[in-house]
């Protein structure tokens, strides 16, 4: 059953339940105790079905969400690795530039003797 079908089922049950509840109150207020009891019993049955359907939907949702969490965690790990890698590259670049800076200084010092 698709989610849309489950949703349609829920709204059908919900509307039925509301009707049953209004009918129960009308019958009770009209003094028709026998039919009010019947309406109330329908109401209880429908309420049980609504609760079961909601519980099932929530359980299905939770099962699906539980499988998604490791996927999302894997994405974070991947992004973390990229951040670490770029940070390391920046450190390496700093070392390279420092080393080349020393070379520059040597060249400048050499230039003094060669000029």
């Amino acid at each position: 059953m698709t989610n849309d079908q489950v949703d349609q089922g829920f709204w059908a049950l919900h509307n039925g339940l509301s009707q049953a509840q209004l009918m129960y109150m009308d019958l009770r207020d009209a003094g028709d105790a026998a039919n009010a009891a019947k309406a109330q019993s329908r109401m209880t049955a429908l309420q049980g079905q609504v609760d079961s359907l909601l519980s099932k939907q929530l359980a299905d949702w939770q099962a699906g969400a539980e499988t998604l969490i490791p996927q999302l965690t894997a994405l974070s790990n991947q992004a973390q690795q990229a951040v670490t890698s770029v940070s390391q590259d920046v450190s390496i670049a700093q070392n390279i530039v420092s080393a080349l800076g020393v070379l520059d200084q040597l060249i400048a010092a050499g230039a003094r003797f060669l000029s």
Binding site: L58, V83, I96, S98
Partner: protein
């Protein structure tokens, strides 16, 4: 000799320009859309959590209402959690576990899911951020060396044509390395954003699904609360209602219930709108990372909508807490 040296340095100084052409489009990404996107994910996640909490309260009210008004025999021992069949596994003893327990349980899953999603978008912000590959860091690296060298030049009294800066290995290399790192960062961002798209879509779909379930749960709880108030009102004879405090109270409570319900529905609809737009926003981030022209207005709108959801929930929260104070 110096002239000769400058000639070769001139050639060297052209290298960053050549590399800049080769690595065209590798400028640092614009961090703002990433920050706004992360804020939208966080606000939407927090709002969904709050609606779940609110829903749990309504569901608990419904459970209590049904227990207290049921004409069937209610056995309170059916609500006592004594059945622990294995360590850390408590079973609800009654026929069916009440919905509010399930909602509480679902919350732990939602929090874990939101936490993972927020961590991911926060890392995107870091990866795209100006702090990670700071132009200032690179500029200061080169500047330090340059000033060192200038001091040597002046100490050694090397004659340099006035107005000509000496191009340096270190200056050139810092520029090149920055471009290379930017290139690597762009590639990493593009790869991650591409690979994450299905999971982000899955996450948003799950959040929308939860909102739909909560909407159904909410109307169920609303119905029970509303019907109880109608029942109270109906039990008072029409002629007595004008002077009956109970009738007035029932009416006021119903109007307040309607107002709370409508506010909650409104904020849930807005939250759903945010989750519907988040996947497209993620696509827009990809375009930003690829330096493609993109409608950043979409991310800005997403951010604004998430802020609206946040303020709606803040209003709801303050209303709930003032209701609680009123008792």
């Amino acid at each position: 000799m110096i002239d000769k040296l400058l000639k070769t340095k001139k050639a060297r100084s052209a290298l960053p320009t050549v590399l800049a052409i080769l690595l065209a489009g590798c400028a640092a990404p614009n961090p703002q859309p990433f920050q706004e996107y992360a804020a939208a994910v966080k606000e939407a996640g927090d709002s969904l959590d709050q609606v779940l909490l609110e829903n749990t309260t309504w569901s608990k009210d419904e459970f209590e209402q049904l227990q207290m008004t049921s004409t069937n025999t209610v056995r309170l021992q059916d609500s006592v959690l004594l059945d622990e069949s294995a360590p850390f596994t408590v079973q609800f003893p009654g026929k069916q576990e009440p919905m509010f327990y399930k909602l509480q349980d679902a919350r732990s899953t939602l929090l874990a899911m939101n936490d993972a999603a927020e961590k991911y978008v926060d890392l995107l912000v870091t990866l795209a951020g100006s702090e990670l590959v700071s132009t200032n860091t690179f500029a200061s690296m080169a500047k330090d060396t340059e000033s060192d060298l200038n001091s040597i030049v002046s100490t050694l009294n090397v004659k340099v044509p006035s107005g000509n800066a000496i191009p340096l290995f270190s200056v050139a290399s810092s520029e090149i390395l920055q471009l290379v790192i930017e290139n690597k960062r762009e590639k990493a961002l593009v790869r991650i954003l591409n690979e994450s798209q299905p999971s982000v879509e899955g996450y948003c779909q799950k959040c929308i699904q939860l909102l739909e379930i909560l909407d159904e749960s909410l109307i169920t709880d609303y119905r029970v609360k509303a019907m109880a108030l109608i029942d109270t009102f109906d039990h008072i004879a029409p002629a007595e209602r004008a002077t009956s405090p109970a009738a007035r109270q029932a009416l006021e409570n119903l109007l307040q219930l309607n107002s709370d319900y409508l506010a909650l529905e409104n904020s849930m609809r807005e939250a759903k709108g945010v989750y519907e737009k988040l996947p497209q926003g993620h696509q827009d981030l990809l375009k930003t990372a690829e330096s493609q022209p993109t409608g950043l207005a979409g991310i800005e709108a997403l951010y604004q909508q998430a802020q609206r959801v946040k303020s709606l929930y803040n209003e709801l929260n303050s209303a709930s807490s003032s209701d609680a104070k009123k008792g």
